[in-house]
Symmetry: C2
Subunit: 350 residues, 2 copies
DNA sequence: CTGTTAGCGCTTTCAA
DNA sequence: TTGAAAGCGCTAACAG
């Protein structure tokens, strides 16, 4: 009862030609007489032939699938990055298979191992913040599976391409913007300390203060600990409410932290941006829906994904021997000014 | 130079046994002597053997991959649904391959066709709003590839399972909640008319008014046309500003519309919820970050995905002949009350 | 221009 | 309990 799928052999038999010819004809290989090719194409169409991707992959050694590992699904940055990857990949005839490491090193390694089983031609990975060692990645590279790393890279891995932004410089310029506009009591809200990008953004904050001779006030600095979104709100409002001194600016390491901070500050009676200016990080579409809208460091998420895919597919297209020099690409960020930094006489040309 | 991957044959040769035995040993097939199995496992380990997924799939006829087609990546509802799918799928040893139809019927069909090439064992699909006919889906089902549809289903497809919510009832109860709390001038903000779920939510709005003998005022009704997020804001604020009569409640077909409406209304000087109450639709994590926070119809997005995966995997696990009766599952929604409906003396037990 | 044939790496009868 | 061998559907080298 089960209809067997049409295969090359069926077409070949019907037309009394060899399987090889059918295969070539469908490939539009010029070594097939035009008449034959057309005959084959027509018959394939008529019989409802669909090539078997798996068989193709087995014999060609290529699956045209890119494996993508991200720390979590429900963060706009990763979604955007995946969209970027997908965008480039599809236009180059690749599909993407996405896995979440759930911010766990063990899952990340498991995912990587499952990708080693020949299902993917190459891998794009954003290390989880739980990832301290990179042997699992090197082991993949040793097996000559191309790898591109992006964002949150604690350690450069030899043999892989890297796509990054300058997290420290980005936060540096945000904080410097506050300072140049007369703000001196600048609070910092970061994320879990294990995460490289948060470390760098913190570093940029410290450097900006240092450069402008503003003493560092530990009380003004807070690192969110919760991975769970539910508790972030409590953590941040707890921090802000406990401050003995009133800050006149806040830099937060994510847009979400920025929004949560705004929410608490408004409830506390602060006027934004007159009493307090805020800059978040990311620019993933929420900042401008809020009233007031949130200024931020815009991160080129989509572009990062796209670039990662481009580098990977470049590697994939190189022949065995011709090993490409591995690259580190740093993409540009910029400040986006909205209500939360729109005070009078702002010098926007920083 | 290229290190060839270890395969069964390599292990077999090293141990002087047959490939079949190695295969069985690795499968933990009881028909292999324990000693042999252990020998094989140890050797496989030592040689760094990794099974080839593609070869496995070709010979077994199963890829353990589920194809997922959603209208777009950057909508929290679909992300959540995908998370739900992924959650269930992974715990049942399936991976998921996600494609976006970009809300285009043509892309949807193309994606479907590419899934017909044997890469996936089954398909979970949310029809794009551009999708008016379902022949492309039936054609997949004819090839005996299991299909589950979820959300935005304009037409039930025979041979597929369906996962839905009661969009009309959900919006009905939201609007009725307004009415029971004394609101009479209830505005409606919907989405593009082609989309089934928006049609249903509109229907529920009309029915609630009708049931309570509130005349329908066309001026109070608006359907967003833009797919592009950039223009939604203008559309919605344009609509609200032009109203000649002041509404005292707004029901919007998405949370995002609700947030945008709130933003405009606040700027127009409305007090929320005293002057105007608002209920959105979705509950995808933004509503409670806002000040004031947005009430909404909560849609079980994650659960919908999970259920869809469950139904698909059930189909996959049935043997050829034993064809499962196809199901239509409707999941429950509920009202979540936040600031935008938190007026005094509210009867929360509707 | 076309056909023959040997794989790709694994599963699974069938036989021993 | 094990082995030999026939596929799974397609590609590609080689021969003609």
């Amino acid at each position: 009862m089960k209809k067997r799928r049409v295969k090359l052999e069926d077409i070949a038999r019907k037309l009394n030609i060899s399987i090889a010819t059918v295969s070539r004809a469908l490939d539009k290989n010029p070594r097939v007489k035009l008449a034959t090719r057309e005959k084959v194409l027509k018959m394939a169409q008529a019989m409802g032939y669909m090539p078997n991707q798996i068989a193709k992959s087995l014999s060609s050694g290529k699956t045209n699938i890119i494996g993508v590992i991200i720390p979590r699904y429900d963060e706009p940055f990763f979604i955007e990055a995946c969209r970027g990857i997908d965008h480039y990949a599809r236009s180059h005839n690749y599909k993407i298979l996405i896995s979440s490491s759930r911010n766990s090193f063990d899952f990340e390694r498991e995912n990587l191992i499952s990708f080693e089983r020949g299902l993917v031609d190459g891998i794009i990975l954003c290390p989880s913040h739980d990832t301290e060692t990179f042997a699992h990645i090197r082991s993949i590279i040793d097996k000559e599976i191309p790898v591109v790393l992006f964002d949150n890279i604690r350690e450069m891995v030899k043999g892989a391409d890297h796509v990054l932004i300058n997290d420290d410089k980005a936060s540096f310029s945000a904080v410097e913007f506050f300072i140049k506009n007369g703000r001196k009591n600048i609070a910092f809200i970061g994320g879990i300390k294990e995460k490289k990008v948060f470390q760098d953004r913190y570093k940029g904050y410290l450097e900006a203060l240092k450069k402008h001779n503003i003493p560092i006030d530990k009380e003004m600095i807070f690192h969110c600990n919760s991975i769970d979104r539910e508790f972030e709100d409590d953590e941040i409002s707890g921090f802000l409410k406990k401050l003995s001194k009133k800050p006149d600016a806040v830099f937060t390491c994510t847009d979400n932290y920025g929004l949560l901070a705004m929410k608490t500050l408004i409830k506390m009676g602060y006027k934004i941006p007159e009493d307090i200016a805020i800059i978040g990080f990311g620019d993933l579409g929420l900042g401008d829906v809020f009233v007031p809208s949130l200024s931020c460091v815009a991160q080129p998420s989509f572009e990062m994904g796209k670039k990662a895919a481009e580098l990977l597919i470049d590697q994939l297209n190189k022949s065995e021997e011709e090993t490409l020099p591995k690259k580190v690409i740093k993409l540009k960020t910029h400040l986006v000014h909205r209500d939360s930094t729109r005070f009078k006489k702002v010098n926007f040309h920083i």
